[in-house]
Symmetry: C2
Subunit: 524 residues, 2 copies
């Protein structure tokens, strides 16, 4: 038998609250022992944890130290704990796996039946769960080249530079940044964004900018400010699944506007607005997820005009203009929005760190005030410390430097991916050529299903995101998303080779099955 | 004339996107000049900002450098900008305040009428706005002693110790903490909380704990998971105004259960449950805001039993058990919740830093899963960096050390406040004796209104929070909240002296008016 290893996990302050009942005929040591046994049995105290010092626990419970010692001795004798001379008493490793039995605690008198209590919002969300699970990314590993995901590459993070600016702002204004803060955001960051956005043609005063926890909170605040159950929401197709989910969870019915190469089809949007009165139109004009396409200026103008004519707000989910492929970044719709119909959602998640949860909304004052009230009620405000650190990072031009660096690298990975697809894919496979964003959409040969293909692909060492969850009305089974942002350049060609082989092999099987099916048709 | 001071605010990357129309008969320099004039006029470019370097801007716009130079010369001639040899061209200080006129941009073709677009949620929130403004705290200043607020004292913040743990966690695991993260939270923090809560008798496995952005987000997630428009919500009275607001904004009708010295009155709660089926009951048992009172064990037991019998969840807004006054902390309801009816809300805002926006929910698995889905849709996850830093802070026992220090200081301020009230207040004034939290509730003499008293108090150099917004059904006009947590010990007695004088003086005026009114009654 080897010496048992104890991780030094301590019960903080060495305390645990144990109810003592002096009127109970059960002796006090036994009461203490039974309570601790239950906590260990239920894994609330886990193997390796140090139990409170007898002196401390006795003081807390108002009993003699000997009473606690007796309880501990019993625990050790029963195998629940081990005493180490000079160190204390620890929860035993074998306690739970061993065959020791303990009386289970009294059954609760009434267990609440939660399932009958959920709101419609929660029920819709629950029903959407399956759909959302389908987009859970498969991470790259030693063996799998993963084009799933769609996040920036954490290998490119300017972590240490960010650590330094964090130190600076805590040193200079820590006490105020760690106190409650106004809901609108850290004023210097709003001021910075006002100027930053000008380079993309987007004009917003600081008071027209609201700081939020990433674009996801932007969707949520917009949805709760504009949507009542039963309302229509117009939405590009395909689109980002979590945006759909948010609007649906607030009870909206989604009406889709399909993309072509120039953006969501304006004539479909116009016809839709003649028949319905959606509460808003959601789209990603500057880097469409999943295709990487951008809205052509003429299409953008038509969408804006139709929206203004029909009094329908456009929710523009923006992508940082520093990350583009080709001639130049596309102009945000908000930059040419003369009717004041656009609410713009921006984020630092793609260009800097997703984990900061930092984004912003730009909108006309009347709606921005409502969004700010909703933000305050949702979580009071976004961490001012994080806001100040990002502001300092930007002000020192570190964001610009970082953006240049990652834009070059992502452009390289995009080019490698496109070249590999051209070289390796069978002729029936097609894909979009991304001009922004982190991904493209690939269409498989007829009758092939991306969801069914995924396990075969993973087996061959490559992963992707099936496209169906990006489609509002079903469909998209033949499509899949390939994200190039977090795949090392040196692995892209190999990943595409594996994917092409998977597709070819599935196609061969499919043709074989077709032949069998044809042969099975009875001659009549 | 003095030399003009320029703050070195630079246009980042020295760029601004200016639409150039080569088919427009207006000359290119004039187009650029007019665009910049408009940006300055609309204060999108603010005084002191440096304009883009001519070379850079020319390259960006695809025009000759001379074109940009001409535009800048015109701007300077018209007083919009100033050229500083060797430094560049800057937006002039007097640009907007001066009498210079600029043609305003073309009026938008259709301005969206937002007011007709807001959801019921937003409309309810808008209507509640006045009420919420009434609780905006008045900060302490050189002249005003402010008992308003209710936040921890930022003078006691362990800012530097926190800076150090932030550095450690970024160095050790920065890349993963800054990437997208699972919605449930940072596993070591959930594990820590599981053990931490045992000392207050609260048993929760890590997977029964969900990390959220402070308790405010907890309210929000619970409301959206359980409440449909028209539902009833039972709520203690008085209570925290923003909790009321959240439930109302989701369309709930509030039913109040008044506090007495032992907690929300159990017999009122029981009767209420016989007549209505509220979706939940909200209360703050361990440190009631505004009174500072705690729920007596017997009352807690009755509330729990009634809730379990009628299948009504209790939402327990907890206060850290390390901050208590008197014999010991009160046991959370969740610690004696055998029916599994309690969702517990915890936060680091009171015991550590409000500005981190870090809290947690504890609940039975079926509801916690739904809350986690709602959290994910609301903002994906809480910053893992902040979670890891707080975990490190706790693990190093820095939280325990800090809690001991602030508990002593807040206890001292509480004692000073109570002593000053006893010494200085007129006999008709009464107040609660807080056993937890940061405040007490004071009741003014009959016919006196705290809202009306506030301006007089501020004039005498003391501030408080009027009590009316804490009352669900109206009422509470005679009450006000005094928060002692962020008033320096040495100023408490002086603050109470000023308040007592304000009250006495108002009472004298009130009596004078009564006499006048009585005298005015016609003799019949």
């Amino acid at each position: 038998m080897t010496t048992q290893q104890f991780e030094p996990k301590w019960l903080d302050r060495d305390l645990v609250n144990i109810p003592i009942d002096r009127d109970n005929p059960t002796a006090l040591p036994r009461q203490i022992q039974a309570h601790l046994e239950r906590l260990i049995h239920e894994r609330l105290l886990t193997p390796g944890m140090k139990l409170p010092a007898t002196r401390e626990l006795a003081r807390q419970l108002g009993v003699n130290r000997g009473t606690v010692s007796l309880a501990y001795e019993e625990l050790v004798a029963a195998g629940w704990a081990r005493a180490h001379v000079g160190q204390g008493t620890f929860v035993a490793e074998r306690a739970v796996s061993g065959g020791v039995r303990v009386a289970s605690p009294a059954a609760p008198p009434v267990a609440l039946n939660w399932s009958g209590l959920f709101s419609r919002n929660a029920q819709i969300l629950g029903a959407d769960d399956e759909r959302s699970r389908a987009v859970t990314p498969i991470p790259s590993s030693g063996t799998v080249v993963s084009f799933a995901g769609g996040m920036p590459d954490s290998g490119l993070f300017p972590t240490d530079a960010f650590r330094r600016v964090l130190n600076q702002v805590i040193r200079e204004e820590g006490a105020s940044l760690l106190q409650y803060y106004p809901a609108g955001g850290y004023p210097p960051l709003r001021q910075y964004l006002s100027t930053y956005l000008l380079r993309f043609g987007l004009e917003a005063r600081p008071e027209e900018i609201l700081i939020v926890n990433g674009s996801q909170q932007g969707f949520d605040l917009i949805a709760r400010t504009l949507i009542d159950p039963g309302d229509f929401v117009a939405i590009e197709q395909p689109t980002y699944p979590r945006a759909m989910q948010v609007f649906r969870s607030f009870g909206a019915q989604l009406l889709s506007v399909p993309w072509d190469g120039a953006g969501p089809r304006a004539e479909v949007f116009e016809r839709l607005l003649e028949r319905h009165t959606p509460k808003l139109f959601y789209c990603q004009p500057s880097a469409h997820n999943p295709t990487g396409l951008v809205v052509a200026p003429e299409t953008g103008r038509r969408l804006l005009e139709a929206a203004a004519r029909h009094q329908v707000p456009i929710v523009e989910d923006g992508f940082d203009g520093s990350l583009y492929y080709g001639d130049g970044p596309s102009l945000p719709l908000k930059a040419v929005d003369r009717g004041g119909v656009v609410i713009y959602i921006g984020t630092f998640s793609k260009i800097l760190f997703p984990g900061l949860r930092l984004g912003w909304l730009v909108g006309p004052r009347p709606v921005l005030e409502r969004l700010q009230a909703a933000k305050q009620l949702a979580d009071l405000h976004t961490s001012a410390l994080i806001q100040a650190a990002v502001h300092r990072f930007c002000e020192r031009k570190l964001l610009d430097r970082h953006a240049t660096r990652v834009a070059t690298e992502y452009a390289r990975r995009r080019a490698l991916l496109l070249a590999a697809l051209r070289r390796r894919m069978p002729s029936e496979v097609t894909w979009t050529e991304p001009r922004g964003g982190f991904s493209l959409l690939l269409t498989l040969p007829p009758d092939m299903d991306a969801g069914a293909l995924l396990p075969q692909a993973v087996e061959r060492g490559v992963a992707f995101t099936p496209g169906a969850p990006f489609f509002v009305d079903g469909g998209g089974e033949r499509t899949l998303r390939l994200s190039f942002s977090s795949v090392a350049a040196g692995r892209i060609d190999e990943g595409v080779r594996r994917l092409a082989e998977t597709i070819k092999s599935a196609r061969t099987r499919l043709r074989g099955r077709e032949r069998v099916e044809r042969a099975a048709v009875p001659v009549v």
